[in-house]
């Protein structure tokens, strides 16, 4: 797999697993209106993943197979999106950190010399604009709450692990925290996985794996 494909897969896997994690709030978000909004964002992220997988496999390729049929060690998602977060403060902290990181890497991709990649990045970014509004509004509301500050600090090294090294300083500037030391980044970098990935993947692919290959849905 080329470096370019690895790069696109990293983003696609981030969006797929984060979309899945966030869809776990459907039905139990703190307010009914937020439940609908949050579920909608989760759905959008999975849509972005699909478009990216399709770009990797080509127009006639099987995006589902790429998304669901790889062995676990081939998934390229960052540990941040794997975490099973059970409280709203952490969930919103991750949402805000992730969107800020995602904006930085999408901005870089929008200038890509490959027009298909640049075009898709621009298209994704137009939807992310709304996600960023949503994240910013929650951040503004919660930023002085100790629970939220603690959650941001706890997740900060994971958020750094989302981006390649050359983009991290920009992220630190936007979030207003200093980059963590290498020892703090251990096990939070892309390429490593948390123990939470396996059960999530099992659940995500359970129905698909239960049917013989090639089954029509």
């Amino acid at each position: 797999m080329s470096a370019r494909e690895q790069q696109l897969l990293a983003i696609a896997d981030d969006e797929l697993f984060l979309g899945w994690r966030e869809s776990e709030w459907t039905g139990i978000a703190p307010m009914l209106e937020e439940d609908v909004a949050f579920s909608s964002i989760a759905q959008n992220e999975i849509g972005h993943a699909r478009a990216l997988y399709q770009l990797v496999v080509g127009e006639d390729g099987d995006a589902d197979a790429l998304a669901f049929d790889r062995p676990l060690e081939e998934y390229r998602c960052a540990p941040l999106v794997e975490l099973h977060l059970l409280d709203w403060a952490h969930t919103i902290a991750r949402r805000w950190l992730y969107e800020t990181a995602d904006e930085i890497r999408l901005a870089a991709l929008k200038d890509d010399s490959d027009r298909a990649v640049a075009g898709l990045a621009a298209k994704i970014d137009r939807e992310e604009t709304y996600h960023r509004m949503h994240a910013a509004m929650w951040h503004d509301r919660l930023k002085d709450e100790p629970r939220f500050r603690d959650a941001v600090e706890e997740l900060w090294p994971y958020a750094v692990g989302v981006l390649p090294e050359e983009l991290r300083a920009d992220l630190a500037g936007r979030i207003g925290l200093t980059l963590p030391s290498n020892s703090l980044l251990q096990a939070k970098e892309r390429g490593t996985h948390t123990d939470e990935l396996a059960p999530m993947w099992e659940e995500m692919t359970e129905v698909r794996r239960s049917a013989p290959a090639g089954a029509q849905w």
């Binding site: 307010m31 209106e33 909004a37 909608s40 509004m133 509004m137 503004d140 509301r141």
Partner: protein, 96 residues
């Protein structure tokens, strides 16, 4: 948390119509949530969000002297027209 009344415009050039409401802590949350509830499926080209407490309610009218001729449903001129036509010796339009 405050209530916001949401009005939506379905197509360009059409009037805004009341769509429903959202309960939100401020204007930004109201906007984000109204976008989801009333715009996500392409059913609106524009929304208005109005704080409920900025709306003046008007619900009562005094009509103590039964001036029913002022009401849209209360004043029939059919009988008077007939009478006037008979006086003038003309037929109603459409009658032969």
């Amino acid at each position: 948390m405050n209530e916001w009344e949401v009005f939506r415009r379905e197509r360009k050039g059409q009037p805004f119509e009341h769509a429903g409401s959202v309960v939100a802590p401020d204007a930004d949350f109201a906007e984000a949530w109204a976008r989801e509830q009333y715009g996500r499926r392409g059913e609106s080209v524009a929304l208005w969000l109005v704080p409920r407490d900025q709306i003046r309610d008007v619900e009562d009218w005094a009509d103590e002297f039964d001036l029913k001729y002022r009401r849209v449903d209360g004043y029939s001129i059919k009988a008077r027209l007939k009478e006037a036509r008979e006086r003038a010796g003309t037929a109603a339009p459409g009658d032969s």
